[in-house]
Symmetry: C2
Subunit: 401 residues, 2 copies
Amino acid sequence: MKIPNLKFSAAATLPAGFRAAGIVAGLKKSRQPDMALFFSDVPAVLAGTFTTNQVKAATVRLDAERVAKIGVAHGIVVNSGQANACTGKQGLKDAQAMAIHAARQFGVAPETFLVCSTGRIGVPLRMDIILPGIEKLATAVVPTGGESAARGIMTTDLVPKRYTATFQANGKTCRFTGIAKGSGMIQPCMATMLAFLLTDAKIDRRALQKALKAAVDKSFNRISVDADQSTNDTVLLLANGCAGNATLKPGHRDWPAFVAALEGVTFRLAMAMVRDGEGAQKLVTVRVQGARTPADAEAAARSVANSFLVKTSWVGSYPNWGRLMDALGYSPAEVDETKVEIRYGNLLCTRNGLKAGASIEQLSKIVAKKEFAITIDLHLGRHAATVYSCDCTEDYVKINK
Amino acid sequence: MKIPNLKFSAAATLPAGFRAAGIVAGLKKSRQPDMALFFSDVPAVLAGTFTTNQVKAATVRLDAERVAKIGVAHGIVVNSGQANACTGKQGLKDAQAMAIHAARQFGVAPETFLVCSTGRIGVPLRMDIILPGIEKLATAVVPTGGESAARGIMTTDLVPKRYTATFQANGKTCRFTGIAKGSGMIQPCMATMLAFLLTDAKIDRRALQKALKAAVDKSFNRISVDADQSTNDTVLLLANGCAGNATLKPGHRDWPAFVAALEGVTFRLAMAMVRDGEGAQKLVTVRVQGARTPADAEAAARSVANSFLVKTSWVGSYPNWGRLMDALGYSPAEVDETKVEIRYGNLLCTRNGLKAGASIEQLSKIVAKKEFAITIDLHLGRHAATVYSCDCTEDYVKINK
């Protein structure tokens, strides 16, 4: 559906009623920015999705409870450098203390503050640094602070990730801003990534949670850097209604415009994460079609997108379709090798499981590109799935060793 | 059980009645050895296990049928450099032609010859090089040719892999020789690896197949280099009875000696593969105990042993136990983070999911070793599993790009 007046920009222009900041609190030896804070002057309707890892950071436990039980929030305080995961009861106390301290600075209820941490697992939080950091953030937040906040949440990210959409609801101009971090430990089911989504549109709470889950399934849950999944992944969405529109929910004429803004921003953020994957130089779209079941399509696409032999082959720009066949074959999906068809871009490479079509030289030109697509047709049914992956270079090892 | 007179050596001393050779046929640009042949002067009882990948090399289809339907073999012809996988009907014809041509040289029935290929997938076999190679091999085979054959099957392997055991059966000295290749595309369920096991002991056919399967489950199926699984994995075992012992099977006094030789050789070959993992510098034993079910123990151990964030952390010799917790958490195994206990070597690192025991400096000394063990107790039950893994260095990417 074409939405009139929907526009996207690669910027962190905050919606009405929001303030933000990022600072150097001193958690990182590198003295890079390490804390950020987002604040809505009025209570905002809250939605969130979280890691499915059984080992969860203290912040994830705290926030998930607040999303489920409270559903309204004023602000989010974030630190990078330390994950507050595998930190036990002390970790939970620390997360609560962060929320309480932040809320106190703004004179709002402690349970309306959310907390996110990202960084090394198993290290107790340096509360002696974080609490003064919160005080500094409270005085630093400004309506123009989106960009600085985007930098405050980075860890191994090379670039800040932020997009802003504008759309119309009841003739009012609404803004939807997404700010995210994440570049390693990323596998299609929400991995070391944080995303903060802010909008001044007024949205029904239940509709908001449902729309967020759907948007996350189409974006952050479809990317793969290294098949690892983190303890801290969190997506939070605050809708504060400052744009003055009537409450949006399915059935409202402008609901599709909101959904398009939400899905447009989250998809752009997800692609920015893959492009910035640790050590990555290429964004590769892996589409599997013709699968017998939706689960088969998903499993086959992930098996290819997660294979380190496939990812390393992209580095060398060689169309190693044999490694694709291999990864398809060991996936849990039903595969009949005599039916498999593979294309690099629009060029046929494999038919009936055998080399066919374009020459290796022609195919190499596609694999040499910064971005390309591989389409695999299993010819067993009508289901499809797409995963966005990246190459695995020597730098991935350097960053993580 | 202590077996008297059981001895192992890192050598390819062939059992009585076997001959072998390895040659340069010309399949590789590097002019490294690329073909090998094993021959038993008398028909040998045959057992085999194969890849579970749905995409199977032509050779795997041929050999699996011969193991199931014929159960007796004279010889094996092997080429490296080309996998004969994803080669369709022509691939199957080529594999059959290799067996026929080899059998003709020795005057034996074609269906008593087995064929193995390893190398690049999707390339038609260069039969113009392979058929003359077979003729050359037939004149080159000698009882002292084990070492040369071990070199003929190598691809990215840096060292040949071979072990010989001697044991007693009915007072006769029997020999059990294993020759294998494999260093990449290796995940616990039989990956780009070939192993040829030869013995002059006389063994009951059904007992042989059962014992081989059990030995493979304890060795080749317990190693992980890169979580990829190949189209060509094959383990073949020929028992020709030339030692003159009475047929061994369970219940025979000397059956345990044979099993110990078989399992001792296969385990040593498997460890040699991990040590020679592409780019690997460390052999790491990952043991999970205290799991609720055997499947949970297995899943948790493999999740840790296959995680690239865990494997890269070993390169830097840092005891990054947080990444172990993370990999446990996203495994399908039931995990309660508040119960997890982790040891590096004998040193306690984590108790109740929290940092405890030894200092990071003490633990780092263990991770800096060439070989070390990590023991994870989930404290949820009584089941255990062990996987042998290696670190993932920049060289892994260099080799595969």
